[in-house]
């Protein structure tokens, strides 16, 4: 799994690619727990490069959603592949996140 941060004007885009499973999810959890990431007013998780997510990956995303809610910061997801979208749907996760088709669309909304 690879994680790349793209700081923007108002939105911090975090690009994730690869597999988000029991063995890799800790890496994402650590990246999202960093102070400058956690405290950022608008976070966008770009998952266009993620082909696979298991409940271990969902747990990290849920934790980030809870942290964003508590800190009153914005958090959105973008670029879900059909395989990842299916796992979100089966889990009921599609309804608890703000999900955009792609990163550009998400940035416009988050920055506004």
């Amino acid at each position: 799994m690879n994680i790349t941060q793209h700081p923007g004007d108002k939105v911090l885009r975090i690009e994730v690619s690869g597999r988000l499973d029991s063995n890799t999810s800790q890496t994402l959890e650590d990246a999202l727990s960093a102070e400058d990431v956690k405290g950022h007013p608008a976070l966008l998780l770009d998952l266009a490069g993620v082909q696979y997510v298991s409940s271990a990956g969902l747990r990290v995303l849920l934790k980030a959603a809870k942290a964003a809610r508590a800190a009153k910061t914005k958090l959105a997801l973008a670029g879900l592949t059909p395989q990842v979208r299916e796992v979100f749907d089966v889990s009921g996760f599609s309804s608890i996140f703000q999900i955009f088709a792609d990163a550009n669309e998400a940035k416009k909304t988050l920055a506004g």
Binding site: D21, S22, N23, Y52, S54, S55, A56, L58, R59, L62, A65, K66, R69, Q83, E86, V87, V90, S91, G92, S95, I96
Partner: protein, 137 residues
Amino acid sequence: MQIDLAVDMKELERMTAAVEAFCDENEVPPDAAMHLVLVLEELFTNIVTHGYKDRTRIGEPIRIALTAKDDRVSVGVSDDGIAFDPLQAATPDLDLDVEDRPIGGLGIHFMRTMMVDLHYARQNERNQLNFSKVWTR
């Protein structure tokens, strides 16, 4: 295909590679293959995390067996950890808000949703879980 695994999360990669290779060889459609990899990751993770808490971890006691026939893959997962019937586990509430959403139980929910013919038995001090993935071409 049969693979024996140690009680160690490092084995996940080896298991995933074996399941993917099996699906390739048997021309299992990509969606069905992903479901198999996902459900087996969830079960394997549960066994490693909860199944051997107070037990010694000798050798490679977790066994996964896959058989392909027509539009079906039959799966057997067995281990000699603590007796646990995942089919008796509570169904997670998927409608709760972010604050109250639990994460436990999702793996078993995936199995119930994506697999058929689920069956559990405790035999010879081992958990034996069987299920199948079926698809239409």
